[in-house]
């Protein structure tokens, strides 16, 4: 009983994170924030869904942990590479951006950077 409760709540948390990812993609103003929202959410969402399913069905637990390990290995790298590519190609930043640590962006206050 407890096992099922934990499992289902983990799956539910994962689903919620996916929902957040979708919301972020729609609501966030520029590519950096969009990617930030979606990667964080998909990584965490995948973790908890896989773990939840693993707890619900113990024979799947080993595979679930392996899955989590691979996602942890690849997903952040992919996001970082994508963001770097966007930055190098001078994708426009939203107006609210304050800090540009790399300092190559023309206008710290944002606006449409060409």
């Amino acid at each position: 009983m407890l096992r099922e409760m934990v499992g289902y709540s983990l799956v539910g948390i994962g689903a919620f994170f996916y929902f957040l990812a979708g919301l972020g993609l729609l609501r966030m103003p520029d590519i950096y924030t969009k990617l930030q929202a979606s990667t964080k959410a998909t990584t965490l969402g995948t973790f908890s869904i896989a773990l939840g399913v693993g707890i619900l069905d113990f024979s799947f637990l080993g595979k679930a942990i392996l899955l989590i390990a691979f996602v942890a290995l690849t997903n952040p790298v992919a996001a970082s590479v994508m963001l770097r590519a966007a930055y190098k190609n001078k994708a426009p930043v939203c107006k609210e951006t304050v800090i540009d640590e790399c300092g190559t962006m023309v206008d710290g206050n944002g606006g449409d950077v060409k």
Binding site: F70, L73, V81
Partner: protein, 241 residues
Amino acid sequence: MRRVWAILVAGVFLYFLVGQFLPIIPTFGNVDLFARVAFDIINKSTTTNYNAVEFKKSKDLEDGSANVVTSIVVNYRSFDTLGEVSVLFCAAIGVGILASMLKSKKRIEFEEHKVLRISTGIVLPLILLFGAYIFIHGHLSPGGGFPGGTTIALGVLLLMLSNNEFKVTNVAKYVEQSAGAGYVVIGLMGMAIGGVFLMNFLPTGVVGNLFSAGVVPIVYTFIGFKVGAELSNVISDLREG
């Protein structure tokens, strides 16, 4: 004007499909398997009498692969697959020829990304291992030579994206050559042993074991190597220009 034409052409075509073609095909799900050759192929009884096949029990059937799609692709209709390999082969050669004809012979260069490079070192062996797993287990689980080879080529692509100096050497071409010729040679061996081209001349073993299905795993391994080398060449041709 173009749009009107397009709607007209697509409309006529859809009308033909829905009005003429749909009535003559069976409704979704209502397939009479008994009337199709697939029924005997599933039961592995095209030359022998009908016996139900059981996983890990049936022995020495005419075809030993647990994955029925594989047994069609590499055994019953192996000749198609030989053609399929040739299509990919020709496409790869074509990309090579056309890429070498480009006037701007500029190699695509970029700054390396440290995070990517380090994580590639960790992930790449896993990717290659996974690709090899896919084509070695092609007769037991979903997969086979084409997906496995593609996975390996993706590993090469990752290496190429993370490492600026990396080049696909001539070794890929030799791999492609020997794997491609190996497939045909297996076919010719069937001709020498059984008198028929592309015959499955090895014992088929127990359904579901790794060492089963005769020449199927061997052929899929060849295909895996060939497709991997070929697609790596395509990627490298497109990059080197």
